[in-house]
């Protein structure tokens, strides 16, 4: 279980999060939505301890992330897979080494690592790309390798930062399917940050809409579709107008 409790974070004079409180239910996919600059990616970075809060706390598995000792934080990170917006693949390593990067620290032998890497690449349908380097891959392929790397550790939580941004519709649909499969096959709790409404309503069990550093509205995908909140409706307008549900 992930909980944000009265989280506050500023960068210089710019306050990004203020009194932010939200619980991410176990085993479900929660989508964080909102206008740009509302702190969605900042929330993900707090979960893995890449950022420290100015106020409040983030609790993962009953552990307060920013109070953890170094070794405890490393253990926690090994339970969390993180898919970066631009994949953040190590460009000096080939695809197989990228995916296997976190596995060496788990004490697995070479054969076990190779088998796990192949299994993950098969899941993202890139089993023949192991020897290729990130510079030789398309944007969609890089994101799929990013997912393979994140799931290689068999994480309890998977965090996706804008997983479909910049992808064509076909690749976006494939990414959505991947996220659903990853959750189903690994049973992982997923947190997805996205602006892509079609993707959000495809993968989400729950959606939280952020505004001015706080949760404006949270609920199931159906509840968000049926919202009467004018700001949320404005955000969803284009999507709902295309006949994807809602009352208006």
């Amino acid at each position: 279980m992930i909980r944000f409790e009265r989280l506050g974070k500023s960068f210089g004079e710019h306050r990004v999060l203020e009194d932010f409180t939200l619980s991410i239910p176990e085993g479900q996919t929660t989508v964080l939505m909102g206008y740009s600059g509302t702190g969605k990616s900042v929330l993900l970075k707090h979960i893995v301890g890449l950022l420290e809060p100015d106020a409040g706390r983030v609790i993962v598995d009953e552990l307060v992330v920013h109070e953890l000792a170094y070794d405890e934080l490393m253990e926690l990170r090994a339970r969390i897979g993180y898919v970066f917006q631009f994949a953040a693949l190590f460009d000096s390593l080939n695809v197989a080494d990228n995916v296997g990067m976190g596995l060496r620290r788990q004490g697995l032998d070479r054969d076990a690592i190779t088998a796990r890497v192949q299994e993950c690449l098969r899941l993202v349908e890139l089993e023949d790309a192991g020897e290729r380097y990130p510079a030789e891959l398309s944007g969609g392929m890089r994101k799929r390798v990013g997912i393979a790397r994140a799931i290689a550790l068999r994480p309890r939580y998977i965090l996706y930062d804008e997983p479909t941004t910049g992808l064509d519709p076909v690749t976006t649909a494939a990414m959505n399917e991947l996220m659903i499969r990853a959750r189903r096959e690994l049973g992982a709790t997923s947190v997805v940050v996205t602006h892509d409404l079609a993707s959000a309503f495809t993968v989400a069990d729950r959606i939280a809409f952020l505004d001015q550093g706080r949760v404006r509205q949270a609920g199931t995908a159906q509840e968000i579709r049926a919202t009467s909140d004018p700001l949320v409706r404005e955000f969803l307008a284009g999507y709902l107008d295309r006949g994807n549900g809602g009352h208006a």
Binding site: K45, V48, G49, L50, Y70, M74, E75, R77, A78, I80, G81, Y82, F84, Q85, F86, A88, L89, F90, D91, M101, G102, R105, R149, L153
Partner: protein, 256 residues
């Protein structure tokens, strides 16, 4: 009133932040050095990249340094000092000062810029964050092998540069000045001390540590895309050169 100037940051706050940051780096460094399994596989490749690949530029500088030193000393000594002192000046100057410092400066440009640009690019493309999310310490994976490699390889490259510089000075003296090999060797041996050798090598090891540390620090601090990487690279080279000059003065005060 609009346009009010922001309140100045108190010096105590700046000092506090600097101390906290320094303390974190010391703790991270200790932890990273202890994480041998992470940095060991990268040590030899970095020694090759930062050290072996830097040999040509260091030797190029050494050839011309030895040549110019021989010509300059002959010019200065004319009729006042016996010419065999050309051998003394060339060997002393190359071993004690010019070999280590000029090699250090050249490597500050090559190694410092390389390290800062590489780590800076990794920082701004979130590869460093990715390492952390995989529970791998960037200090153990990226910083430690580079700093160790530079500390070990700078003296090796400097030793080669010193050798080539002295040989170049000798060849210049024999071919362009009216000096025989035995006279050059007589001058070289006249005031030779074993300290002349290790002094330069100890200095160059400290230059390697400083240059690589500066490059890693600047690279990992890079922010804001290509411009941030460029800035980190520039600072790395400038601060690396400045660190070499400060360390050079420090070792001269402490060891001579």
């Amino acid at each position: 009133m609009s346009g009010a100037e922001p309140a100045p940051v108190p010096a105590s706050s700046w000092l506090h932040d600097a101390l906290v940051q320094s303390g974190r780096w010391v703790i991270d460094a200790r932890r990273a050095v202890a994480d041998v399994a992470t940095w060991r596989p990268h040590l030899l490749p970095q020694m090759r990249k930062l050290g072996v690949d830097s040999v040509p530029v260091a030797l190029f500088i050494a050839v011309f340094t030895g040549m110019v030193l021989a010509l300059l000393s002959s010019y200065m000594f004319t009729r006042a000092i016996p010419l065999y002192f050309v051998g003394t000046l060339v060997t002393k100057a190359v071993m004690l000062e010019l070999g280590p410092v000029l090699t250090g400066m050249a490597l500050a440009g090559r190694v410092g810029a390389n390290v800062a640009a590489e780590l800076g690019t990794m920082r701004v493309t979130e590869q460093v964050d990715a390492l952390e999310t995989l529970a791998i310490s960037p200090h153990a994976y990226l910083v430690t092998p580079r700093v160790l490699a530079a500390t070990l390889m700078f003296p090796v490259v400097t030793a080669l540069a010193i050798t080539v510089g002295v040989v170049s000075g000798w060849l210049t003296a024999v071919n362009l000045l009216d000096l025989s090999t035995s006279e050059f060797l007589r001058g070289a041996q006249q005031f030779y001390k074993f300290k002349d050798i290790w002094f330069g090598l100890v200095k160059s090891a400290s230059f390697g540590t400083a240059v690589a540390t500066m490059g890693c620090f600047q690279g990992l601090q890079a922010r804001g895309g290509a411009e941030g990487v460029g800035k980190a690279t520039r600072y790395s080279v400038v601060l690396g050169c400045e660190a070499i000059l400060v360390l050079d003065a420090f070792w001269a005060l402490v060891l001579l």
